[in-house]
């Protein structure tokens, strides 16, 4: 395994420990850490916060939810390459509340790493950062191997709200840790490794462009499509594939099924018509 893969695997195996350390450290530095289940919950939370701070929110909770999904898309959606606008930092109405998505969280420093192009552009009074619970790393020195993977010309490490004596910077800093199905991924032996992803984007469509891609955290990219499939309802596909397996294990039955396919084929299926004769028929004829 590569070094980044080793570190990510270690974090995931001890995720509760590192989240607790991060929380303790960041809280000690004046930040507020919140755990929420979904983008919906986060949107509600932020809307309430905005109302308390008397900041007007243009799109309402629905608008916030959309922004959240762009800033911190579900890991599965991200890896499927579903389009998400690259926004690093957006302000909700003026510079009242700013929303950003974290690239990494660093436990020992209680730090939030934002990485992008114009990360620090908005200067809100209340800074809210969204992060999936998997984004934590043990120590600041891990950034030596992880920061180069994500890059960005404007990288920020937020280690709390403004301190005594400071003349600017956010007065409040909220870190919203989103579960969003991640704890279930973690419980799934086969899929846990997906959470190692650091969203470098190398394997995404458009980026890959036909060249071979190696994932920096050793995720088996070839298996991604399988791992990312929504679970098929077990019973339905179960009997279908049992029947299919039965047929495919028996060449004569398979040949017969092929003939049936020809007899009953319908244009509506959206597939071209089966060839008049199968390969094996043509082969037999050719050999005679």
């Amino acid at each position: 395994m590569t070094k980044p893969a080793e570190i990510r695997a270690h974090v995931l195996a001890n995720l509760d420990h590192y989240l607790a350390e991060l929380e303790k450290q960041l809280t000690g530095q004046g930040g507020t850490v919140v755990y929420l289940r979904s983008a919906d919950e986060a949107a509600d939370y932020i809307e309430l916060l905005a109302r308390e701070r008397e900041v007007r929110v243009t799109g309402g909770a629905e608008g916030i939810r959309r922004q959240i999904e762009q800033l911190e898309p579900r890991l599965e959606d991200y890896l499927k390459g579903e389009p998400c606008v690259a926004v690093e930092s957006v302000a909700i109405e003026g510079s009242g509340i700013g929303l950003a998505g974290a690239a990494f969280l660093i436990a020992d420093a209680g730090a939030i790493c934002l990485a992008g192009e114009r990360t620090g552009a908005a200067r809100p009074r209340v800074q809210v950062v969204l992060a999936g619970i998997e984004k934590v790393l043990p120590r600041m020195r891990d950034m030596a191997v992880f920061l180069p993977l994500v890059g960005g010309s404007d990288v920020r490490f937020l280690t709390g709200p403004r301190r005594a004596g400071e003349l600017d910077g956010p007065e409040e800093l909220y870190l919203i840790l989103l579960d969003g199905g991640r704890s279930e991924l973690l419980a799934n032996q086969e899929k846990r490794d997906l959470l190692r992803c650091v969203r470098c984007g190398d394997c995404l469509p458009g980026q890959a462009g036909g060249r071979a891609v190696t994932c920096p955290v050793a995720i088996d990219i070839e298996s991604l499509p399988l791992l990312l499939r929504e679970e098929a309802p077990a019973e339905v596909s179960g009997w279908k594939f049992r029947l299919w397996g039965f047929v495919m294990g028996r060449p004569r039955l398979y040949e017969f099924a092929g003939q049936m396919l020809r007899a009953f084929w319908r244009e509506q299926w959206g597939l071209p018509a089966p060839a008049a004769k199968t390969f094996r028929q043509l082969w037999r004829e050719g050999k005679k």
Binding site: P205, E222, A232, W244, M248, Y254, G258, L282
Partner: protein, 220 residues
């Protein structure tokens, strides 16, 4: 020394694209291989594997292993089926599968890496767009030696049919781009995608033909 090749045409080619299978046999014979077809073969098990039904995939995979136990080279026209057999089947069926699986070759790679031919002496006088295959595939190399072939650019069209979400789906926009390119033929490296495209082109009433790499290499 003559290489003994056993065709694994895949269920898709058997049922839907038999011409690609015949063309493959022709090219392999042409380059001096002894070609056989074992009628016991059916499918590689990939549909079940990709749907998450490992048990059934294993069952069908084992039927494949039994059918090809003593074959010297197993050559198939599908990159995805080749990778299913080489990589996934050993995961399902263990070490026993590995040995047979290692003898599975995707058609274009077999030509270039085992038969060691780049130029099969083909002539195909058409303007074409070529589907890129993800994963190891030597199709482009073989096509570069085909005489009379004019390859038209088709911007950022990549991907095969095997990976959801990572390859460009067969959308109306893709069909439009193909039509706009002015090509008379689409050459596919990957049987399934070729099939999807053929369906989409036929439904749209376009007269563009879809052919498998093997058919191009077999034409004179």
């Amino acid at each position: 020394m003559t290489k003994r090749v056993s065709l694994f045409v895949t269920c898709v080619v058997d049922q839907l694209l038999p011409r690609a299978g015949l063309a493959m046999a022709e090219v392999l014979t042409q380059v001096g291989c002894e070609v056989e077809f074992r009628p016991a073969q059916t499918c590689c098990g990939r549909p079940a594997y990709e749907a998450g039904c490992r048990e059934q995939a294993k069952l069908v995979g084992e039927h494949f292993l039994a059918s090809f136990a003593d074959a010297e080279f197993i050559v198939t026209p599908s990159t995805s089926c080749a990778s299913m057999l080489r990589k996934r089947l050993p995961e399902l069926s263990g070490a026993a599968a590995r040995e047979t699986a290692a003898r599975v070759w995707e058609f274009s790679r077999f030509l270039v890496e085992i038969a060691k031919v780049d130029d099969v002496g083909a002539r195909f006088e058409h303007s074409v767009v070529v589907q890129d295959a993800e994963g190891l595939n030597c199709g482009h190399r073989l096509l570069s030696h085909v005489k009379g072939l004019e390859q038209l650019p088709l911007n950022d069209w990549t991907g095969s049919g095997n990976l959801w979400g990572r390859s460009e789906p067969v959308t109306p926009a893709l069909v439009n781009r193909i039509v706009a390119s002015g090509a008379s033929h689409v050459i596919g490296m990957e049987t399934e995608r070729l099939l999807l495209l053929r369906g989409a082109l036929q439904r749209g009433g376009h007269a563009i033909e879809t052919v498998h790499l093997a058919e191009v290499l077999a034409s004179r």
